[in-house]
């Protein structure tokens, strides 16, 4: 489980960089799945996928391209099944899933297959994998 502690976040965005590199393709860093949102003076919130129990993105997907990995509990994207309809982005009530018009694919947190880079690189213990 990925635990988020907004109170410990200093807004350094190391998690975003770690995510970009963890989701690199074709020799380029990818768009980050985790985002830091300022929430007032020296206050920051890490916004990342909650891997909902009843995930709206997975329910909205017409091809079952978004499915639960029973080991990591992440909702993962099977890129081969995706047809680029964008309904997952529309369905997520939290705005955690962004549809990339450039890649024709949603940007989905996959918990890095069970070792999330954001948590591994957070220097302040504001993201914890346990």
């Amino acid at each position: 489980m990925l635990v988020v502690y907004p109170g410990r976040c200093v807004g350094c965005r190391t998690c975003e960089v770690a995510c970009s590199f963890a989701h690199a393709s074709n020799g380029k860093p990818g768009p980050s799945r985790i985002r830091i949102h300022p929430a007032g003076p020296e206050r920051f919130v890490q916004v990342t996928c909650l891997q909902c129990v009843n995930a709206a993105c997975a329910a909205a997907c017409p091809t079952r391209a978004l499915r639960r990995n029973e080991v990591t509990r992440a909702i993962e994207l099977d890129e081969r099944l995706c047809v680029g309809c964008g309904l997952c982005e529309a369905a997520c009530p939290f705005g955690h899933l962004q549809f990339s018009r450039e890649l024709h694919l949603p940007l989905k947190c996959d918990l890095c297959g069970g070792n999330p880079a954001c948590a591994a690189f957070c220097p302040h213990g504001a993201l914890e994998w346990r």
């Binding site: 949102h37 919130v45 529309a90």
Partner: protein, 251 residues
């Protein structure tokens, strides 16, 4: 039921009834394919996934995407015959779609630089190989707006009778899955134009950013019985709201 098939003399486990192409790809065999998409039924139209197949007394050169795996199948994915036929099919496809970078790269890998043939001028969209993947995906999504028009050399893909279609919602999934990227989509902040029809975007009620097309939004609301105000906020504004909720809990 799990069955065993031999692919290039390697024993591979598969579920009976699975697509042979899917099984071979999963086992790491490189079989070129354009018209296959695991989300829709395979129809073997691009004819690139040819393999030599021996099964239950028959021996044939066949497309693998629309063959269902049976116990004891023996498959060769790469042989002089397979290579020769694949190259011939590639040359024909390349003649139809010389503008496709993906097809050109695939053809070059099979030793084809330029096709010897020239297809008759088509009334349809340029660089379309008539694989009907867009048609199948459109039907699977419940829109069923695209179809095959004309016969013979006049065969082409389009909206029925080449007329604006009420069933098209402008989702552009057809363009996203097209293997030769030949379906033209143009977008402004107001609307998306595809297949000669213009679709107004639904706009975020907070920031006004374009989201799904209004037609696609209405289709989903109706199909799933959702409240009328569903899908009215863009992901960026939804994320902002989420961060505010987290902040309210934290501080």
């Amino acid at each position: 039921m799990t069955v065993t098939v031999r692919i290039n003399d390697v024993e591979v486990l598969a579920e009976e009834g699975e697509s042979l192409l899917e099984v071979a790809l999963r086992a790491g065999f490189d079989i070129p394919h354009l018209c296959h998409h695991p989300a829709v039924e395979a129809i073997g139209s691009c004819r690139l996934c040819l393999v030599e197949l021996q099964a239950a007394g028959r021996e044939e050169l066949t497309t693998s995407c629309n063959v269902r795996v049976e116990a004891g199948m023996q498959v060769i994915t790469d042989s002089p015959l397979v290579r020769q036929q694949r190259a011939a099919n590639l040359e024909l496809l390349l003649a139809r779609a010389p503008g496709s970078a993906r097809l050109r790269a695939l053809a070059a890998r099979h030793g084809i630089q330029a096709p010897r043939f020239e297809p008759p001028p088509s009334e349809g969209i340029q660089n379309c190989i008539l694989c009907e993947l867009c048609v199948r995906v459109c039907a699977m999504l419940g829109h069923d707006a695209l179809g095959v028009l004309g016969r013979g050399e006049k065969k082409r893909i389009g909206l029925p009778f080449n007329q604006p279609a009420a069933s098209c919602v402008g989702c552009a999934s057809c363009a996203a899955v097209c293997p030769t990227e030949c379906i033209r989509v143009s977008e402004t902040p107001q609307a998306r134009t595809i297949w000669g029809q213009s679709f107004e975007f639904a706009h975020c009620r907070s920031c006004g950013a374009p989201m799904l097309t209004e037609r696609q939004r209405q289709f989903e609301i109706e199909k799933n019985g959702l409240p009328e105000d569903s899908y009215d906020t863009c992901e960026s504004c939804k994320r902002q709201q989420t961060s505010q909720r987290f902040a309210a809990i934290t501080w």
